[in-house]
């Protein structure tokens, strides 16, 4: 179904001014998802097959104008879209996975898999962390990159998130997490499973300090991430159509022989079942997260009866040197 290019441009254009001057830089590689790509000029939506100028598609933050399909974003794209320009300061960018299990799979060793993902995404690991502002509101942010081994949570993912939480505790910065994950980092075995406990225990400290955590669930989000930090938040937002769950649909069908209902595990399914606070279109996320952070950021630090801090947070010495 071919649209007249001008019409597309026109409608997209209208949409354009609805957005603040931000838009994804054209340089950002448009291949976070393995969509069919007609050419560098055109983008073909994998869901409704609508054709859109790549430039327009980027202006609309990779959301299809016709069917609203929210294409996956890399961590860099997501940070660029969410944060005010030039305010993002990355921390712990150099941390890299160890290889505690000396994992090899069909002749390919884990360190090589890591190097492949690093080349592919430009990140050293699946989670990118740092701080900046959204609509002027200071926040700390952790963004998972599905391109990096399916954003699987391993030791580095966990430690970087926990160090970011240390920063939040030290500077009373609201925490924003933008999660997606294919599940555990099998290559790190039980080290990976334990990151669920580690990250959630860190959030417990954040909560006791009355610092807000806003979690955004993006497509796809399964396994350990969904069953730990990503759903223990003061507010949980989900992008329209995002697939979010604990066990994958295939496993459920095999185990239960049950026919899964339409829309199973979509963001809308979760909303209906009371599991997310809001399903928020991508272009409204900036404003909404900024508002929520501002509203929840006012709570004073808890003070004990004699005004001594209710509990002392032991922060690791190394907070100082971040880079």
């Amino acid at each position: 179904m071919k649209h007249i290019v001008e019409a597309v441009a026109a409608t997209t254009h209208d949409h354009h001014h609805f957005f603040h001057r931000k838009s994804l830089k054209a340089t950002a590689p448009v291949r976070a998802e393995s969509e069919e790509k007609t050419s560098n000029l055109w983008f073909k939506c994998p869901k409704c097959h609508e054709l859109t100028y790549v430039k327009e598609h980027l202006d609309n933050f990779k959301v299809c104008q016709k069917c609203r399909h929210h294409q996956r974003l890399s961590a860099r794209e997501r940070i660029e879209f969410m944060l005010d320009e030039n305010t993002f300061v990355e921390i712990n960018s150099q941390m890299m996975a160890g290889d505690p299990l000396h994992f090899a799979n069909e002749g390919e060793i884990y360190p090589d898999k890591i190097k492949q993902s690093q080349r592919k995404t430009g990140n050293k690991e699946a989670l990118v962390t740092g701080y900046g502002t959204i609509e002027g509101q200071p926040i700390a942010i952790a963004v998972a990159d599905f391109g990096f081994l399916g954003a699987s949570m391993g030791s580095v993912f966990g430690e970087k998130l926990v160090r970011l939480i240390d920063l939040c505790l030290e500077r009373r910065l609201p925490l924003v997490t933008i999660s997606c994950s294919g599940g555990a980092r099998m290559h790190e075995g039980m080290f990976s499973l334990m990151q669920m406990a580690k990250t959630t225990a860190a959030l417990a400290r954040l909560g006791k300090a009355r610092i807000p955590h806003i979690s955004i669930l993006t497509d796809p989000c399964y396994g350990g991430v969904t069953a730990s930090y990503a759903v223990v938040a003061d507010v949980i937002l989900a992008e329209p159509g995002a697939m979010v769950g604990f066990a994958g649909p295939r496993v459920i069908e095999q185990t239960t022989r049950q026919k899964l209902p339409a829309g199973f595990q979509t963001a809308e399914f979760l909303m209906e079942h009371g599991m997310v606070d809001r399903v928020t279109p991508r272009r409204e996320l900036r404003q909404e997260v900024a508002t929520l952070a501002r509203l929840l950021d006012r709570a004073a630090a808890p003070v004990a009866k004699d005004n001594r801090p209710l509990f002392t947070i032991t922060l690791p010495k190394k907070i100082a040197n971040y880079q």
């Binding site: 299990l101 099998m186 075995g189 499973l193 669920m196 223990v232 769950g245």
Partner: protein, 306 residues
């Protein structure tokens, strides 16, 4: 197999360092004998006559009063919870419960809890926190039940909220893997001050079968997956992920249930008394320090390079 076992045990327990490259390499995986040995443990961990959670609970706490329901939706037979006396103090006891026969297995969903099972545990964790009662948990599950309704009522939310509650629970928490430690569904009652495992129990990020199908698209390769994923008590102890391996009678726990249970009871008591000594009068300050050390225990788990 025993010889290798002895050799393994003789390996010095390495306090893993999290912020430098692993300094010495674990012996490479000799495919056959290691695989064979690990798979034998997996089969023992899943042995139908292996003592189950209730066997331990009733022996450690003869006057155990089982408490049912999550006060939200339903009661889940796959999760046992309640209060009882353990060596002179009141404790909350939790455990995943498998069935002895098909009928009981169906009633208890083969020890695979649903969201309401975890929320029953949550409710009892909150009661333990309120009354400052130590919590003893007995882990034995293939994993959380992967069903349609588990997603509708979000087992993910239930697991995460349990982890939050355990992280803030102002009383000693001791967890013991007595059989199968099935991924997040096991961890949901396994964030503890002391993490213990029976010698022939396993604890894994995914079951051997699931790992094999993920890694090699062939569940039949479960034995290979079990070996390479390092899911035995000995491996996890060497990684510092668990604190103590509890020996079983020769041939496995099922050969002498009572001896096994009493061995577990003694190790639990020792660990509990150690923590209680640290807490002393149970003042708020002392309990804050307990939570801080529990946090540090998990903060240290992970290997990376900077």
């Amino acid at each position: 197999m025993e010889r290798l076992e002895e050799l393994k045990k003789a390996l010095p327990h390495r306090k893993h360092k999290h912020d430098t490259a692993p300094d010495e390499h674990l012996p490479p995986v000799e495919q056959s004998s290691e695989t064979h040995e690990v798979w034998a443990k997996v089969q023992l961990a899943r042995h139908p006559q292996r003592p189950h959670a209730l066997d331990y609970i009733k022996r450690l706490s003869p006057d155990f009063v089982e408490l049912h329901g999550d006060r939200r939706f339903a009661d889940d037979g796959a999760m046992i919870g309640g209060i009882g006396e353990f060596e002179g103090r009141s404790v909350v006891l939790l455990g995943q419960q498998k069935g002895r026969d098909t009928k009981e297995n169906i009633a208890r969903n083969f020890g695979m809890p649903s969201p309401e099972g975890y929320r029953k545990a949550l409710r009892l964790m909150e009661q333990a926190d309120k009354f400052r009662l130590p919590v003893l948990t007995f882990i034995d599950t293939p994993g959380a039940y992967p069903g349609l309704e588990s997603e509708e009522r979000s087992v993910a939310n239930a697991i995460a909220e349990n982890l939050m509650a355990l992280a803030q629970l102002k009383a000693p928490v001791i967890a013991v893997v007595i059989g199968e430690g099935g991924s997040g569904g096991a961890l949901a009652i396994g964030l503890a001050d002391r993490m213990l495992m029976l010698e022939n129990s396993i604890y894994s990020v995914a079951s051997p079968e699931a790992s094999a199908s993920i890694l090699w698209h062939d569940a039949a390769k479960a034995p290979d997956a079990a070996a390479s994923m390092r899911i035995t008590a000995q491996h996890l102890h060497s990684f510092g992920i668990i604190d103590e391996v509890i020996p079983e009678p020769e041939g496995g726990a099922h050969t002498d249930m009572l001896a096994t249970i009493d061995a577990v009871k003694a190790v639990i008591l020792r660990n509990l008394e150690e923590i209680e000594a640290q807490i002393g009068d149970g003042s708020e300050d002392a309990l804050e320090m307990l939570l801080a050390s529990r946090y540090e225990k998990y903060r240290k788990i992970g290997q990376w390079v900077e």
